[in-house]
Each structure stands twice: as structure tokens, then as C-alpha cells.
């Protein structure tokens, strides 16, 4: 056995480059996969820590349909024996931007443990609760503390809070929000006394549900799609990497045909040969896996800050920026590497069996496989595509959306060789161009050996087009939307009612139109609903973009008490213009239009301020927009406003500043996607390179006769490059529609399922051209190696083919 293994392994000593390429390919694939896993694992651990620290996500909670539970209701439930922990939540503007302020009863809320720990760290000698309750302490994410510095309260860091959430004792929060007699929800604590009267009897108007919508809710709900995307990317790169391994292993076996025959003749049993091959593969997989893990860890470290920024910026999910090495991650990375290698080696095992059984020396030429082989593959591909579409079409959902994508991608990849084969017959070959005829016939012969790497290329290109189109479409829509939605030139967040009155007065004096926006937090269909009240202004009709609307939508809004709802709410409750929606108990309104609302998972509605005031629900002023009179400099106006009301520089925000910040957050969000795109394409290029190299040794006997007939080595080398470019171009042509289909599914289905909004798809032909050039470049680079070898080949080697031909 040792001899068998040593004989097999000796081969690699003669082929260090090939060995290196195989290991590198597998290592790269493992690296990408494990980097994505490390990032996901880190995010999940962060969520778990946050949930544990906040302690409330696991608990059921009571909420009121209108979002307000009277304090008296809480006390009466407590006096009935129910063990509940009250929470009051609201918007609060201590500085430049508003935050969610969450008040908890420090005697009963699960987050108290984390607060006590923060308190003990800040002041080890102080009795924590007395201090929290007496010294007006607020807790926030450490990064957020500087923003609150001007609030005048004692601030302590609580690292696992979402970035825009501030927690404090109910006494302080109720004062800050000026809601001494109201609560937002009541957590139902785990231990309850026996014999309680059911809640449905005691408080029939309250509903029991999980706390998913509160700030302490489960961040995984929001980020699920993002992580699924990352995982899909990682898996795709891994699959592409396996194509490399498959090519290398099969080639290595082909090259050792002589040795294997000799070993068989010496009486080595087939089972021993198989075992030796398996051991060889596992050793390679382990080595490559370890290298891959090291690279993956480094890669994850590089990408994590961007992912963290994305998760915080887009979803407000708390993720630490530090990477931890987890044993589970190392083991799963190695298992993926070994499992993947063995899977990729299946063909090699089959070939080995065939080889060992037949004592014939002639290589089994896959090239002679009939057209029916391609047809079978193509049929399989079509079935996969059909199945995927069927599943994705029948059961709309996030996971089935990804199944649909997978079916399309794998199916299209299987279809590729048959299409290329068919395409090769379409190229005209006249009697005047024998070399061209040979090149096409030869390409057809090479197709089986190259098909896997071409499939890999196809997947990589399609992913690039798909994800690129999605991101660019999203960006275009987003920027457009931001431009249209920022109706006013300046935005101010008044901190007090006096300031609000002063501001409105100043606006009137200065001839500036003011667009105040009021806010009520309510619930509809057991989900949070934010209501905005606005005043009549022609700018809304001029600039506000609507997805769907009734005629005279703005008259309906301002004069007839109808409302506008966001796309998320419309999708979730199946609403359209003309439908009636419940905004709070006993309060329904007709929908006049639906507007796009990106970057927010919850329902929203806009109505006229008069309709809102009629309800006598507590409302807060969330912002005032100011429209400068024509011909006024906006900067001058901002300065005038600051001077007139003695506002700090950050209190007045210009429209273009908000736009720039939002776009910057957006771009940062998709940095990771861009990086993964480039890496996938690089791995695919690498796969092509290994395929070409693996073809090389078999090519010589086929090229020698041509050379003998007078075709120069330069011409032959050119033919190599041309063939590679031809395949790449053909692959690109299939990958392009596949990528667009991918983009469409991502934009119209997966986004809709994940967030409730649909993004219109835009085509970016410039990007395709660039990608086409990149693909050709990758193909040229991959063919360059064999071509230069051909150029440098000594005539003696070519002649030798004839003398050694057995």
C-alpha cells in the first residue's frame, strides 16, 4: 500500500506547478467560503449577544393596537398578579438626529443586568440602581455617546445596543418623552403565579405577540436576506473552486495512466489503488483547506468592517467589528474542503476504475462522446431550470427565491456545452480555409475537457451581471428617490415646542415655506405603523414620486382625509389605491396612493395634519423642511436661520448633505458585494487556466501532425488563444441573459420578499462591455501559458511525438 501511494504521489514531484495550481484553487475556494461563514458567524454571535443583553427578544409581550397602553392598565394587570415588565418607547432628539428612546423599569426588565454591569464598570463604588434611578443616567452604544454629549444627562456605554437606541429608567424616559401615563408594551416575564385570570379577560384590547418590532427585537429578521446573499456568494465561489479541483485531479490521473497500468500489472488490487487516490485527495484537501482557512480568516478580517458598516447603516443591527476564531468554523471549513474535494474527485474515481479494468493503453477520449451526451446534459439543465422556476413561481418566499436562482444557474451551466457545440456548427467553414475548419473541429474535440471550467466562467459572469445590475439598479432608484423625496432645501429638527413656534414664525417673516412633519407611532395588522402628518404645499404634487395612485391624489390627501401608504404596507396587507386600511382601533382611512420607501422594513402612511389632529392622539414633530424662495442662496438662508434662532451649526441640515450621507451609506453597503464579484471572476479565470494546462499534455499528439504539414508554431499558438477567446465569448453570450434573469429575480422577487419593496430594473450595457472585455482578458491570460509553451517548444519534441507514438 505504501508503495502504491508513494508511486502515485511521486508524480506530483514532477508536476509542482500543477500541484500548486490545484492546491491554490481549492484553497481559494475554501477561503472565500470560510470568509463568508466567518462574517456570518460573527454577525450571528453579535445578534445573539445583543438579544441576550437586551434580554427581551425571547419574551412575549402585550401591545395595544394604537401603540399606547395606559399606565393604569399595567398597574391593574400587576395587581391581578401578572408578572409584567413595562417598556415605554418613543422618538427623542437630544442632538442633531433623533433616536429611539426606550424606558424600562430597572426593577424588572431583563436588560437591567447589562445596565448594572455598565454602571459597576463606570463607578465601582456607586450602588448601581440607586444611581441609575437617581442620577438620571442614559445608556447608548459607545459610538453614539458623543452625539448625546450635549444632552446634559449622565451617559454610560452599552455596546450591544443598536446604534440609534438610547435606554434609560422609565422615570427619566417618561419625563423626556412627556408621557408619564403611557407605556408602549408589557413584557410577559417567564415565571407567573398559579391561578391567574386570563389576559384576554383582564385586558381584551391588548394583544400578545413576540417583541419583534421593538428596538430590542431580533435583528436577524432584518438581516436574513443579507446573510443569505453572502452565503450564496460563498457557496458559488466554492463551487467554482471545485471545478478547478475536478480538472486537476482528472488530469493528474490521466497523466499517471502508465504508472497505474504498471501497478495493476504488478498485481496491485483496484481497491488499493482507489484507497491510495482517496488518501491523496484527503491530504491535498486538508492542506488546501488549512491554507484556505488562513486566507479566509484574513479576508474576513478585511471585509468585516464593511459588513459591519452595512449592517449598522442599513439595518441598525448591532455587530462588533472584531473577528473571533471559532472551532466550529475551522472544522466546518475543513469538512467543506475535504467533502468538496471528494465530490470533485468522483469523476477521477470512475476514470480510475475504468482505467484499471481495461488494460488498453489508449486514453479514453471524452472528445469522441457523441452529441447525445451533450443533449442529455442539456436536458438535465432544462429540467433543473424548469423545476427551479416552478418552485420559485409557486411558493413565493425568500428561500424558494434562492432555490429558483440555484436551479437557473446550475441548469444554464449544464446547457452551456450543448449550446457551444451547436454554435460551433453554425460557423461557416469553406474549403478555402482548412486551418479554420481544423480549429473549429479541434475546439469541438476540446469541449469536454474545458466544459467544466467554462461552466464555472458562465456562473461567475452571470453572477457578476446579475448582482451588478441589481446593485446599480437599486442605487439609481435610491438616488432618484432620495432626490425626489427631499422636497425641502433645508431640514431642521426642533427640540422644543418654543423652538418650533419660533421657527414657523421666522419662516413666515422670511417668506420661506415651511413643511412640518408630525408623527404618531401606531400599529396595524399587529405590526408597527408610523403615521406622518403633513401640511398642504404645492411641492408635494410637483415632486413627490408615487408608484400607484388615484386621480387627484393630493386633493384626496389634503381635502378628503385619504392617505398615502408605503410599498411595504401595500405589499404586506395586499392594499392598492382605493382600499381601506386600519390605522389604529376605530380609525380607518382610504388609500389614495402608494409610494416607494427604501431602507425601511416597516409600514408608513402619510396624511394631512388636520386628519391627524382630529384623532387627538399624542403626536410629535419629527422635522420641519424649509423651501427657499426662488433666487435665494440656500447657504445664506441656513446662516440667517442659525443666526436668527441661535441654532448650533448641526441643527440645520442642507438637502445635499442628507443626499451625500445617504449615498455614502449605500455605497459602503455594497463594497462587499463588489469585492466578492471580483474574487469570483478571478477564481473562474483560474479554473480556465488549470483546464488549459490540463489539456496541454494531450494536445501535443494532435498538434504535431499539423506542424508537420507546415502550420507554424506561431500559427498554432494563435489558434490556441483564438479558441480560448471563442469559448469565452460564447460563454459570455449565454451568461448575459442568465445574469439579467438573475438580476430580475433578485430585484422583483427576493427584494420584495425580504423587504417588501420592488426595485425597477435598469440595464447597464457599459458594464456588460467592461465585463466582456474582462472575460476575454481572463481567457487570453489563461490561454497565454499553453500558447507561449507552444511557441517555445523545440521541433525535436514535436518530432518525438511521431517516434514515441505507440
Amino acid at each position: 500500500m505504501r508503495l502504491t501511494l508513494a508511486t502515485l504521489l511521486r508524480h506530483w514531484r514532477r508536476m509542482p506547478l500543477q500541484l500548486g495550481l490545484m492546491i491554490a484553487g481549492l484553497a481559494l475556494a475554501t477561503a472565500l467560503w470560510s470568509a463568508v461563514q466567518a462574517i456570518n458567524g460573527e454577525a450571528r454571535a453579535s445578534y445573539a449577544r445583543a438579544v441576550e443583553q437586551l434580554g427581551s427578544a425571547q419574551l412575549p409581550a402585550l401591545t395595544a393596537p394604537d401603540g399606547h397602553i395606559p399606565l393604569a392598565t399595567y398597574v391593574s394587570l400587576r395587581r391581578a398578579g401578572w408578572q409584567l415588565s413595562p417598556v415605554l418607547e418613543g422618538r427623542w432628539s437630544p442632538g442633531r438626529r433623533p433616536v429611539t428612546l426606550m424606558g424600562v423599569d430597572v426593577l424588572s426588565h431583563p436588560v437591567t443586568a447589562a445596565m448594572a454591569a455598565a454602571e459597576a464598570e463606570a463607578d465601582p463604588d456607586a450602588p448601581p440602581f440607586a444611581t441609575v434611578m437617581q442620577r438620571e443616567t442614559l445608556f447608548a452604544h459607545p459610538d453614539h455617546l458623543p452625539d448625546l454629549a450635549g444632552s446634559g444627562y449622565r451617559l454610560l456605554p452599552l455596546p450591544h445596543l443598536p446604534p440609534d437606541v438610547v435606554i434609560g429608567d422609565l422615570a427619566l424616559v417618561a419625563t423626556l418623552l412627556d408621557r408619564p401615563d403611557a407605556l408602549t408594551r408589557l413584557l410577559i416575564l417567564p415565571e407567573q403565579p398559579t391561578g391567574l385570570t386570563p389576559l384576554a379577560e383582564l385586558a381584551p384590547n391588548l394583544r400578545v405577540g413576540r417583541v419583534q418590532d421593538g428596538v430590542a427585537g431580533d435583528p436577524q429578521r432584518l438581516t436574513r436576506s443579507f446573510h443569505l446573499n453572502l452565503s450564496a456568494f460563498g457557496l458559488l465561489s466554492f463551487a467554482v473552486g471545485l471545478f478547478i479541483v475536478q480538472g486537476s485531479v482528472t488530469l493528474g490521473l490521466e497523466q499517471r495512466r502508465g504508472q497505474i497500468q504498471t501497478l495493476r500489472c504488478l498485481g496491485v488490487p483496484l481497491s488499493q489503488l482507489m484507497l491510495a487516490l482517496a488518501i491523496e485527495l484527503v491530504v491535498f484537501a486538508l492542506v488546501a483547506g488549512l491554507i484556505g482557512l488562513v486566507i479566509g480568516y484574513g479576508l474576513a478580517g478585511l471585509l468585516l468592517p464593511d459588513v459591519t458598516a452595512t449592517l449598522r447603516g442599513l439595518y441598525g443591527a448591532p455587530v462588533d467589528g472584531e473577528l473571533t476564531l471559532r472551532p466550529g468554523w475551522v472544522l466546518s471549513g475543513l469538512a467543506m474542503s475535504v467533502g468538496g474535494t471528494l465530490l470533485a474527485g468522483t469523476q477521477a474515481f470512475l476514470a480510475l476504475r475504468r482505467m484499471a479494468r481495461s488494460l488498453s493503453q489508449a486514453p479514453v477520449s471524452g472528445a469522441r462522446r457523441g452529441a447525445h451526451h451533450w443533449l442529455r446534459l442539456a436536458a438535465g439543465g432544462l429540467v433543473l431550470m424548469g423545476l427551479g422556476t416552478l418552485i420559485g413561481g409557486i411558493w413565493p418566499g425568500l428561500l424558494t427565491g434562492f432555490v429558483w436562482l440555484a436551479g437557473l444557474m446550475v441548469g444554464a451551466a449544464l446547457l452551456l456545452p450543448a449550446l457551444l457545440h451547436a454554435a460551433s456548427h453554425l460557423i461557416p467553414t469553406g474549403p478555402d480555409s482548412p486551418l479554420r475548419a481544423w480549429l473549429i473541429a479541434d475546439s469541438r474535440l476540446q469541449l469536454p475537457g474545458l466544459s467544466l471550467s467554462l461552466m464555472a466562467l458562465c456562473l461567475a459572469v452571470a453572477t457578476n451581471i446579475g448582482v451588478g445590475t441589481m446593485v446599480s439598479s437599486f442605487r439609481l432608484t435610491f438616488v432618484d428617490w432620495i432626490d425626489q423625496r427631499l422636497l425641502a432645501d433645508l431640514y431642521v429638527q426642533p427640540e422644543t415646542e418654543t423652538m418650533e413656534a419660533e421657527l414657523m414664525h421666522w419662516a413666515q417673516q422670511a417668506g420661506v415655506r415651511a413643511l412640518p412633519r408630525y408623527q404618531i407611532d401606531s400599529r396595524s395588522g399587529n405590526a408597527p405603523l408610523r403615521l406622518f402628518g403633513i401640511t398642504d404645499d404645492p411641492r408635494y404634487a410637483e415632486e413627490w414620486p408615487l408608484l400607484r395612485s388615484q386621480p387627484d391624489v393630493w386633493t384626496r390627501l389634503f381635502d378628503q382625509g385619504e392617505i398615502l401608504i408605503n410599498e411595504q404596507l401595500a405589499h404586506r396587507q395586499g392594499l392598492s389605491p382605493g382600499s381601506v386600511v386600519e390605522l389604529a382601533p376605530g380609525w380607518s382611512a382610504r388609500v389614495a396612493g402608494v409610494y416607494a420607501d427604501y431602507g425601511n422594513p416597516d409600514g408608513q402612511a402619510y396624511m394631512s395634519i388636520d386628519a391627524m389632529r382630529d384623532r387627538e392622539m399624542p403626536m410629535t414633530l419629527s422635522q420641519i423642511g424649509l423651501v427657499a424662495p426662488a433666487g435665494t442662496s440656500i447657504e445664506d438662508l441656513a446662516q440667517e436661520l442659525r443666526a436668527a434662532l441661535a441654532l448650533p451649526p448641526g441643527a440645520v441640515i442642507r438637502r445635499d448633505a442628507i443626499r451625500a450621507t445617504s449615498t455614502a451609506i449605500f455605497d459602503r453597503t455594497f463594497v462587499v458585494t463588489g469585492a466578492l464579484n471580483v474574487l469570483t471572476l478571478a477564481v473562474a479565470g483560474f479554473a480556465m487556466l488549470t483546464s488549459f494546462l490540463s489539456q496541454w499534455s494531450r494536445r501535443l499528439p494532435q498538434l504535431s501532425p499539423l506542424w508537420a504539414m507546415g502550420v507554424t508554431r506561431r500559427q498554432l499558438a494563435l489558434c490556441e488563444v483564438l479558441r480560448s477567446l471563442g469559448f469565452a465569448a460564447g460563454t459570455f453570450l449565454l451568461a448575459l441573459p442568465l445574469g439579467l434573469l438573475l438580476a430580475w429575480i433578485l430585484l422583483a422577487h427576493i427584494n420584495l420578499e425580504a423587504f417588501g419593496w420592488r426595485v425597477p430594473m435598469t440595464l447597464f450595457p457599459d458594464d456588460w462591455l467592461r465585463l466582456f472585455a474582462l472575460t476575454l482578458l481572463a481567457a487570453a491570460v489563461a490561454a497565454l501559458g499553453p500558447a507561449t509553451r507552444l511557441l517555445r517548444l523545440s521541433p525535436a519534441r514535436l518530432l518525438g511525438v511521431f517516434s514515441h507514438d505507440r
Partner: protein, 356 residues
């Protein structure tokens, strides 16, 4: 009841209301009660107690409690004990409406049989109505636990509490007068002069129902209510205490405590005759010595004592009905019914803290 109440309020003042933080308390000791009273009113001798006003809360004092223990018997003669306690602890003197009130309330309830010990705990903010003590008529409550009277006296009370495994509903009728401890209700707690206001109703007759997992039990027996408030009742070096309330056959009662400290123990108490006549014990006259130890909740606790009071010819063995009467509350302690034998027979309650 001084001991447990002090522990409780320590816990509150030190803010260890979150589970798993006893080390913080241990590290900080009882400093919270050894320090100055920071604006709180301090008990002064010679001030007479006034009822019913003094049945209600005294928010200008730092700590206060309504503390009831009962030794009961089922129809079949099985013994059990019941505890109902409401503590008030002020983070600052005075009251304020709503969540801004500096008053914090805590309730403890327990049922101890020979085999089992059940307990529960409740916490509440003052100012919102979730817990408190009111007059017209008298009611002390936290959540659904309540001690209520038909009038402004403590003569007839009804008492309810329940946890996730137990509950009770008892009627109490006083058979004697209120008892003022110390000097007309001014009770000295250390050689340095720390003191509290302290009165009691030690003579209730009890009947009612105790609910346990195995079913409802009709019970009868005796109960003892302690009322005490102060702002700084302990000396800084006092580290734990053993407290006894004993109903002796023949109608006499003994309330006695030993406050342990490095510089020497401080013991005191009150002898209450069957007719309600009280005699304060001179400091040091009561002796209590551990005789048998039990392993409870991972520590050794003395559950058998020899208690002697030579001036009354008392030398008794005090033995726990159930050595496992451990209160695993945020700040844990031992509290349970005891049996008395020796020169006198009887039953009562024992409370012990500081056995870490």
C-alpha cells in the same frame, strides 16, 4: 424582624436586584446602612408612636417593613409556617408622583412544611400604585399580594400571596394589644446608638387556606406582625444576625436578636407576657448558641440553637421544622418555623443572615 429587613434594604440600596450579583454586595458589605442618613429623618428617643398614622408608610425614613410570620397546623396535625413581608426602601426621602417616586417596594412570601419550602419575591416602584400602604382602611400590598383590614386598626387582617407553586389566603384576629419594643417603640440596635422605631402585634389567631402543589390545606395557628422603620439602624461592622420570635406555651412570647460583629455581638429583645405587658431585655442578657448545623444551598447554617434568658429562667432548644427553609431571593437568607423545647415549650420563627 430587624435582620432580614436590613438585609433586604441593603440589597435594594446596593442595587443587587439583578440575579447573580451577590458578590457586589459582599464586596460592598453593609456600607449603605453604616453611612450617614443623607437627608433622611433619623429616629429620636422620646417620640411617641401615633396610630393609625404609624401603620402607614414613613417615606422620610430610608427603610421600613410590614413583616408577618405564622406558625400553623393542618387538620391532621401537620405543622407548617407562612411568611408575608412587604419592605419599603427609599432612594431619597419623600414622595413624588408616578415613576419619579424614590420609593422602592419589595415583597417576600413563603410557605414552609416539614418537607418542602416554597417562596416568591416581588419588586415594585412606588408612585404608580403597584405597591404601597394606605389607610381608610388599612391596606399593604404589592401586586396581588395584600394585607388588608376592614378599618384603620391592625386587629383583623386578611392576608393573600401566591407564587408559581403555592398560595395562601388567611384571616387573622388579634388577641392582645399592640406591643412597643425598646423604649416606647424606640429600639436601640447597637452599642453606638443606632436605633429604629419598632412595634408589633405578636398575638394573632389565624385560620385559612394554604394552596400547595398537592392540594389545598385548611390551617389554623398563630401569627406575629412586626412593624419597624429607620434610616440607619446598623453599625458599620455588624456582619449578620440571628433573630427569634417565639410563642411559648402559657401565652408568654419572646422576641430576641443577636447582631454579630467583629467587635462583639449585640443582643437584645423583648419579653412579652400573656396579657401584653412588655419588658425590654437588657443588652447582653439573651444568649443564643448554635448547636447543630445543616448544609443548605451550598453553605453551613445553624438550624438548631440553645437560647437562654436567665432572668426568666428560660433555657430552650430551638430547632428548625425544615432545615431547608432557604430564601433564594436576590439577597438570600434563611427564614423558617421552629419548635421550642426545654424549660419552655412552644413554636416560633427563626431568621438568620450572614452565613455565606
Amino acid at each position: 424582624m430587624i435582620a432580614s429587613a436590613v438585609v433586604r434594604t441593603c440589597a435594594l440600596a446596593l442595587g443587587v436586584l439583578v440575579g447573580g450579583a451577590p458578590t457586589v454586595v459582599a464586596a460592598q458589605g453593609y456600607a449603605g446602612l453604616g453611612t450617614q442618613a443623607e437627608g433622611f429623618t433619623v429616629p429620636t428617643p422620646g417620640q411617641s408612636l401615633e396610630f393609625p398614622a404609624d401603620h402607614a408608610a414613613h417615606p422620610d425614613y430610608r427603610i421600613e417593613w410590614w413583616y408577618l410570620t405564622a406558625t400553623l397546623e393542618t387538620a391532621s396535625g401537620a405543622q407548617l409556617g407562612v411568611q408575608w413581608t412587604l419592605f419599603r426602601s427609599a432612594l431619597a426621602p419623600g414622595t413624588a408622583p408616578g415613576w419619579n417616586s424614590p420609593q422602592v417596594w419589595m415583597g417576600h412570601a413563603a410557605v414552609t412544611t416539614q418537607q418542602q419550602h416554597y417562596y416568591a419575591e416581588r419588586l415594585a416602584r412606588g408612585g404608580i400604585g403597584q405597591a404601597g400602604v394606605s389607610l381608610d382602611p388599612f391596606e399593604a400590598w404589592i401586586d396581588d399580594w395584600a394585607m388588608t383590614s376592614m378599618d384603620n386598626t391592625l386587629d383583623g387582617l386578611s392576608l393573600q400571596a401566591r407564587g408559581d407553586e403555592f398560595g395562601y389566603d388567611l384571616s387573622l384576629r388579634a388577641e392582645g394589644p399592640l406591643v412597643l419594643h425598646g423604649e416606647a417603640g424606640y429600639s436601640v440596635k447597637s452599642a453606638q446608638g443606632q436605633a429604629s422605631y419598632y412595634y408589633a402585634q405578636p398575638g394573632y389567631r389565624v385560620s385559612g387556606t394554604v394552596r400547595l402543589p398537592e392540594g389545598d390545606l385548611e390551617v389554623t395557628g398563630k401569627a406575629w406582625l412586626d412593624r419597624e422603620w429607620s434610616s440607619q439602624p446598623l453599625a458599620a461592622d455588624q456582619s449578620g444576625w440571628d433573630w427569634f420570635s417565639l410563642h411559648l406555651d402559657g401565652g408568654d412570647k419572646l422576641m430576641g436578636f443577636v447582631l454579630r460583629s467583629d467587635s462583639g455581638d449585640f443582643s437584645s429583645g423583648t419579653w412579652i407576657e400573656a396579657d401584653g405587658t412588655t419588658s425590654p431585655l437588657a443588652p447582653g442578657s439573651l444568649a443564643a448558641e448554635p448547636r447543630g448545623w445543616s448544609a443548605v444551598a451550598g453553605r453551613q447554617v445553624p438550624t438548631s440553637w440553645r437560647v437562654s434568658l436567665p432572668e426568666r429562667d428560660l433555657a430552650v432548644e430551638v430547632r428548625a421544622l425544615n432545615p431547608n427553609a432557604w430564601m433564594g431571593t436576590v439577597f438570600p437568607y434563611w427564614e423558617g418555623p421552629v419548635e421550642v423545647s426545654g424549660s419552655h415549650q412552644g413554636r416560633g420563627y427563626l431568621e438568620m443572615t450572614g452565613y455565606d
